[in-house]
Amino acid sequence: MTNQIKAAALAAPAVLAASAPAMAQSLDQTINEGFASATGWFVSFIFSPFPGTSFPWIVMWLVIAATVFTLYFGFIQFRAFPHSISLVKGDYSDPNDAGEVSHFQALATALSGTVGLGNIAGVAVAVGIGGPGATFWMILAGLMGMASKFTECTLGVKYRNEYEDGTVSGGPMYYMTKGFAERGLPAGGFMAVLFSVFCILGAFGGGNMFQANQAHAQIANVVGDYPGWITGLVFAAIVFAVIVGGLKSIAKVTEKVVPFMGVLYVLTALVILIMNANMIGWAFGQIFAGAFTGAGVAGGMVGALIQGFKRAAFSNEAGVGSAAIAHSAVRTKEPITEGFVSLLEPFIDTVVICTMTALVIIITGQLISDPNTGMYLLDEGASTIQTVDGNKGVALTSAAFSSAIPFFKYILAIAVILFAFSTMISWSYYGLKAWTFLFGEGQTKELVFKVIFCIFVVIGASANLGPVIDFSDAAIFAMAVVNIVALYFLMPVVKGELDSYLSRLKSGEIKKFH
């Protein structure tokens, strides 16, 4: 009897040890399955194709919007580009406003919310499915998206709320309510509520779960596989400490290190491109050929286009409305100036950084093509291109950089964690703004949102990439649906601001201070 107990006691730890990984894996699985079945309907609706085609209506929606804004404002992204740079440098800033939020600071904070995994993992997803040609459509989407960003950020500043204590709140919710009321348009309040709901979902999705998911993938890629909920809990604890505990030190460190990592990332990509300078011409050849012929990728040319536009929109968030929240705190007498500054955001995010990632993946030969036909080989499901080690998402980018600079995967792991973290902090703020717009301000209400946000960190790290990326995309694009409708109705306001500002700039009424 005593021996039996002893034996059982001895066996128990062994059983526990053996079952722990199994339990952990099944916990991940349970979360994943539950998540996929709960969000599937929403995803299918957002990405449903035009009847009789395979072209998702939402992608067309974004393309048309960016084209309309580009034409309506007469290619403002190219005309105003030099002036935007002067504004960021502070050439037009009144020295008496020193100590207030500068154009540079508003841009830097907005960028740290958008530069993130979209630039590293999202591009790998685009190129992995759509082939090199996706890059062309991504760059085009970035250039056009500059006009969407210009429109929404001008409105964000113009219709922001300035409270008596000196704090400000801005964003699509405010231009939908105040802007629509000013122009005598109906349904502004309804749209603001709808936008806020989608913004909260977007904060949980692309701004949170996708980040946690890919941060975990990257850590597992470096240290070996382990259950995602562990990463999730650690991340959730840190995010909790910052957004609930008010632990400013972590946020401050992140805000300082993230720009540095961004520059390091671009410089490393440049070094790899210079090392392979003779292949850059070939890579652009692949990009152009792929953009118009499809070069054998999943879905052909349309597949490349869809992937390029989807990932560009996901990365730079032009037309989504999130940037209008971030940019609205700047100190300026002219709302349009923040519009000019914000149009640099998709340029830096997509045209520069995303293109770097894509070129490195293409040039380092991660995508496998048939040596005889030059066509890319598809994997078994015929949905993605075969890669050298079967890598997807952030692992593909990591493999591409490491093949040129072996230790870079460690630096990239740190960069991914920091980018993920800063994006989560930014989106927790966007989500909170939408939340307080719906439910009102108050400590308990805000705490409820923040705790839910932290729970989603754990879910995101545990679930598989597929369902997470689908839901993240769907939520972010749902924001764009509502936001762009509002932008169409309010774009004459921006036009008025633009014409007035440009004429005063020309007449010399608006002068440089420096």
């Binding site: 020193a98 100590g99 500068s102 540079f104 904070t109 000196g166 709140s169 993230v258």
Partner: protein, 144 residues
């Protein structure tokens, strides 16, 4: 002509020494004094979204605090000196902004205190005294 002296003042011992030195100088020359405090600030620093939202409010609080805790006591300590006293409170790079204050107020010299030992950080990043000596638009006196 009347002499105007800008004193870079932060409430520290060395700043008080500079203020005392400037006071004697102004009395001897029949001049006036501008007590200047600069809040270190770069428009190119990085802030979180919450910091952006609260910046305007915080700026007001910082200005009030500097006015009450630094400038007001200094002006108070000089009220029996019989000198004409002005104050200046600005954000910016300390050395550059002190130079700007001197130019704007038409001062003909700047007096600052020297802060402590020449440590590693001042060797790497430079000190206010050195930057001012290199870039100031008017003569600078550094009081130990």
């Amino acid at each position: 002509m009347s002499h105007k002296i800008v004193v870079g003042y932060d409430g520290s011992d060395s700043a008080n020494a500079a203020l005392a030195f400037a006071t004697d100088l102004a009395k001897a020359q029949g001049g006036s004094i501008v007590v200047a405090h600069v809040l270190e600030w770069s428009p190119y620093s990085f802030l979180t979204p919450t910091e952006l939202e609260e910046r305007h409010k915080r700026r007001g609080e910082e200005l009030d605090r500097a006015e009450a805790a630094i400038l007001a006591p200094a002006v108070d300590s000089l009220k029996d000196s019989g000198l004409e006293i002005d104050t200046a409170l600005k954000y910016g790079n300390i050395a550059t902004t002190l130079g700007e204050i001197a130019t704007e107020s038409g001062a003909d010299q700047i007096v600052i205190g020297r802060n402590g030992e020449p440590g590693l950080s001042s060797r790497v990043f430079g000190s206010v005294a050195i930057s001012l000596a290199q870039a100031a638009p008017v003569p600078v006196t550094i009081v130990p």
